[in-house]
C-alpha cells in the first residue's frame, strides 16, 4: 500500500522536476557552463534528499501507527494485567472450594458410617435375643437384662439417628460448591474466549496495518460502563473472599442489615 503511494508520488510532480533538471543540465553542459551545471546537480541532490525525508516521514508514521495500534487495545492490557491474574485466583478458589466440599463430605461419612454400623450390629444382637425370648428360651433374669439393654438401645437409636440425619444435612449443604464453582468457571471460560478473540484481532492488525481509527477513549469508557451495568443486571457470580470492596456485602448479616435499613 505504501509502496504504491510512493510510486504515485515519484511518477507525478517529482518526475517532471527531474525531467526539467535533466534538460537544464544538458543545456548547461552543451553551452560549456560548468557553474550552471553544478547548480542543477545541487538542485537534483536537494530533490533526492527531500524525497528521502518524505520516505522517512512515511515510515515513521507507519511505525507510530503500529505502536498506537498495540497501545490502543486497552482491553488486552486489562486482560493481561488484571483479568488473567484474577482468573488464576478464581481457579485457585475453585480448587479450595472443591477441596473443602470434599473434606466436609468425607468428614460426614467418617462420622456417621460408624454410628450406622454400630446400630446395625447392636440391633442384630438384640434381635437374636428377642427371638430367643419369643421362643421362650430366656429365664427371668435374662429377660430383665434384655429389657434393660433394649431400653438403652432405643435411646441410642434416637440420638444416633438424629446425629446421622444432621450429618446428612451437612453433606447436603456441602454440595453447594458445584453451583458456586460452576459460576466462577463459566466466567473464566468467557475470559478465555475473549482472550482468544483479542489474539485473533492482534494477529489481524499486525498482519495488515491498522486502517480506520477505532472509537475514541471517552466512547470506550462509556462502552465499558455500559458493559459493567449490563454485567450487574445479568448477575456477576460469586465474589471471592476478601475481594469486591465496599460495594459487596460479606455475608448474610450484611444483607439483613442493608434490607432492614431499607425498611424490610
Amino acid at each position: 500500500m505504501n509502496t504504491m503511494r510512493r510510486e504515485q508520488g515519484s511518477s507525478g510532480a517529482d518526475l517532471e522536476a527531474y525531467r526539467r533538471a535533466a534538460q537544464q543540465l544538458l543545456e548547461h553542459v552543451e553551452a560549456g557552463d560548468g557553474e550552471g551545471a553544478q547548480t542543477v546537480i545541487d538542485d537534483l541532490t536537494h530533490l533526492r534528499e527531500t524525497e528521502l525525508f518524505r520516505e522517512l516521514g512515511t515510515l515513521t508514521r507507519d511505525l507510530h501507527e503500529a505502536i498506537k495500534a498495540f497501545n490502543y487495545d486497552e482491553r488486552l492490557a486489562d486482560i493481561t494485567s488484571q483479568e488473567i491474574p484474577d482468573a488464576r485466583e478464581r481457579l485457585n478458589y475453585v480448587i479450595t472450594m472443591t477441596e473443602q466440599a470434599a473434606h466436609r463430605t468425607l468428614t460426614v461419612i467418617e462420622g456417621s458410617a460408624p454410628l450406622a454400623q454400630q446400630l446395625a450390629e447392636e440391633g442384630g444382637q438384640l434381635a437374636e435375643r428377642w427371638q430367643a425370648f419369643q421362643r421362650r428360651e430366656l429365664n427371668v433374669e435374662e429377660f430383665r437384662e434384655l429389657s434393660r439393654e433394649l431400653g438403652g438401645f432405643l435411646e441410642r437409636v434416637q440420638a444416633d439417628s438424629r446425629q446421622i440425619s444432621d450429618q446428612l444435612n451437612e453433606a447436603l449443604m456441602a454440595q453447594d460448591y458445584q453451583d458456586l464453582t460452576g459460576q466462577i468457571i463459566r466466567k473464566v471460560i468467557a475470559l478465555v474466549e475473549e482472550v482468544e478473540a483479542n489474539l485473533v484481532q492482534l494477529v489481524r492488525i499486525s498482519g495488515q496495518r491498522f486502517e480506520a481509527d477505532g472509537p475514541s477513549r471517552p466512547a470506550r469508557a462509556a462502552e465499558d460502563a455500559e458493559a459493567a451495568s449490563e454485567r450487574m443486571r445479568r448477575g456477576e457470580g460469586p465474589t471471592l473472599p476478601g475481594q469486591g470492596g465496599d460495594d459487596v456485602v460479606s455475608g448474610q448479616d450484611e444483607v439483613d442489615d442493608l434490607l432492614s435499613s431499607l425498611g424490610f
Binding site: N169, L172, Q183, M232, G235, G237, V255, L259
Partner: protein, 133 residues
C-alpha cells in the same frame, strides 16, 4: 404461626445441584410440594398456569434472570403478591437494593445455611399471614 406445609413452592436455579439442595432443605422443613425450573423463561409459564404459593429464585441464570422474573411476577395482576425469596451469589449492595426495589420479599446470599433458609421462609410467611407486605 406455622405456615401451611402443603403450599406449592417453585424453585428456580440453573444449577440442578442447587435445586436439589434447596428441595431437600424444604423437605427437611416439612414442605414436600416443590416444583423446579432452570431459569426465568421456564419458570414464568409455570407461574402463569397458577397454583404456585411461593417462589424461590436464583439471580444469575442464562435466559431470563431471577431479577427479570421477579419484575414479570410483580407486573402480572395474578402474581403480583406472590411471596418471593431470592437465593443468589450476587452480593453487590446495589444489586440487593435493586431486588428490594423490584419487590423481593427476602434475600439470601450463597453460600447459606439451612438455618438461614428456615428463618427467611418463616419470616416471609409471618408477614404474609399478618397481611403486610
Amino acid at each position: 404461626m406455622a405456615a401451611d406445609k402443603n403450599i406449592k413452592i417453585l424453585v428456580v436455579d440453573d444449577f440442578s445441584t442447587m435445586r436439589r439442595i434447596i428441595k431437600n432443605l424444604l423437605r427437611e422443613l416439612g414442605y414436600n410440594n416443590v416444583v423446579e425450573a432452570d431459569d426465568g423463561n421456564t419458570a414464568l409459564p409455570i407461574l402463569q398456569k397458577g397454583g404456585i404459593d411461593f417462589l424461590i429464585t436464583d439471580w444469575n441464570m442464562p435466559g431470563m434472570t431471577g431479577l427479570e422474573l421477579l419484575k414479570h411476577v410483580r407486573a402480572d395482576a395474578n402474581l403480583k403478591d406472590l411471596p418471593t425469596l431470592m437465593v443468589t451469589a450476587e452480593a453487590k449492595r446495589e444489586q440487593i437494593m435493586e431486588a428490594a426495589q423490584a419487590g423481593v420479599n427476602g434475600y439470601i446470599v450463597k453460600p447459606f445455611t439451612a438455618a438461614t433458609l428456615r428463618e427467611k421462609i418463616d419470616k416471609i410467611f409471618e408477614r404474609v399471614q399478618a397481611g403486610g407486605g
